[in-house]
């Protein structure tokens, strides 16, 4: 078994999941890849298996949070040191994986976010989207006490402490932002590292214009609730 597990949640991504798995395995041979097929009705599981990934097929659709947590549960039980989450739509560049693993190896963070905004990268987005991002970044800064620029990035690496936490608690929907406060609440450290982000190869963002207001409300509420839950006591004995 390798030391790190790459988790790819996928819902009907047969067109892109094969390429994503292959490019991860070729650009970073020191990881295992697991694809969580979240109730897919197409060939996602078969394509992923043929590309060389482990596959867990969920019999019903759980949504992004439930699918992602399945990967963390798997990583925790199999005893992986690190877990990396990456989207199946091809917008995250596997070439950044060794960089993320290296940064994690320094041991000064429990989660590292692959961020679009830390350095100037090729990524561009719409104005309304940038406004939303800034609002979320401000909220997160107030909640955790230090700045995290790219709060919605789904390109992340975590260590075994965080894997254990995620196997117990993981938000059901729109988990990225909420997770930041969850980690802070459990006294785990977050750091950002610049990565390249591409346009998606296939599929659409789960956040359409119609849903963005609901998204902002839901995420803000989730942050508020996380803050209200208060800080967890430091758990002694566990490394």
């Amino acid at each position: 078994m390798k030391e790190a597990l790459v988790i790819i949640p996928a819902l009907n991504e047969e067109r892109s999941v094969g390429n994503v798995v292959r490019s991860i395995l070729s650009s970073c041979p020191m990881v295992d890849v697991i694809v969580i097929s979240d109730g897919s009705t197409d060939q996602t599981a078969i394509v992923a298996r043929e590309a060389g990934a482990k596959v867990v097929e969920l019999p019903v659709n759980l949504g992004i949070g439930g699918a992602m947590q399945t990967g963390y549960l798997y990583a925790w039980r199999a005893g992986y040191h690190y877990a990396i989450q990456i989207d199946a739509d091809g917008q995250h560049d596997p070439a950044d994986l060794p960089k993320l693993l290296d940064e994690m190896g320094r041991g000064d963070a429990d989660m590292i976010v692959g961020s679009r905004y830390v350095e100037r990268t090729a990524y561009r987005s719409s104005a309304s989207r940038r406004v939303g991002m800034v609002m979320l970044a401000t909220l997160i800064r107030m909640a955790v006490g230090y700045p995290i620029k790219d709060t919605t990035s789904g390109y992340r690496i975590v260590n075994h402490k965080t894997i254990e936490l995620f196997s117990r608690f993981y938000p059901h929907d729109y988990p990225e932002v909420e997770v930041l406060v969850l980690l802070h609440r459990h006294r785990l450290r977050i750091r950002e590292v610049a990565v390249e982000m591409k346009e998606r190869q296939a599929g659409r963002s789960s956040i359409t214009m119609m849903r963005s207001a609901y998204y902002m409300f839901k995420v803000s509420l989730a942050i508020l609730l996380e803050v209200m839950r208060g800080k967890e006591a430091r758990r002694e004995g566990k490394s």
């Binding site: 867990v56 019999p59 759980l62 439930g66 399945t70």
Partner: protein
């Protein structure tokens, strides 16, 4: 008055339906308690309009039957809140069950795969 009789009959039928659902195990006791309580309160109030009037007077409600609506409304509110709590708990359980099932399936497939491989290679190594 005919409305008293109708009220009584409706409450009684409601109570009978609830008990029958419990008897046929279509309604778990823990959730039926709400409906049972509501049925009993409604029945008592409908057989004794005097009680309803007195309680309404104590609370300062001029039109006694509106007390019925108030009680019914609060009951609904409580029940619906309770239902969404139950639903949330069920959702969490379904998610965990689905995750476990998915992982078991994947383990089983890997085990089958390994068995198939060893069965195929055994005759070769023996012969």
């Amino acid at each position: 008055m005919i409305i008293d009789l109708v009220g009584f009959l409706v409450s009684l039928i409601f109570l009978i339906v609830v008990i029958d659902l419990m008897r046929r195990r279509l309604l778990l006791e823990q959730y039926a308690l709400f409906w049972l309580g509501m049925g009993i309160v409604l029945t008592i109030l409908s057989v004794s309009p005097g009680l309803l009037n007195r309680v309404a007077k104590v609370l300062g409600i001029y039109y006694a039957p509106s007390l019925l609506f108030l009680v019914g409304f609060l009951f609904m509110l409580g029940t619906m809140l309770h239902l969404t709590v139950v639903l949330s708990r069920l959702t969490n359980r379904t998610v965990r069950l689905t995750q476990e099932l998915g992982m078991l399936k994947s383990q089983l497939e890997m085990a089958d795969h390994r068995t198939a491989l060893t069965e195929r290679s055994e005759p070769l190594s023996n012969g």
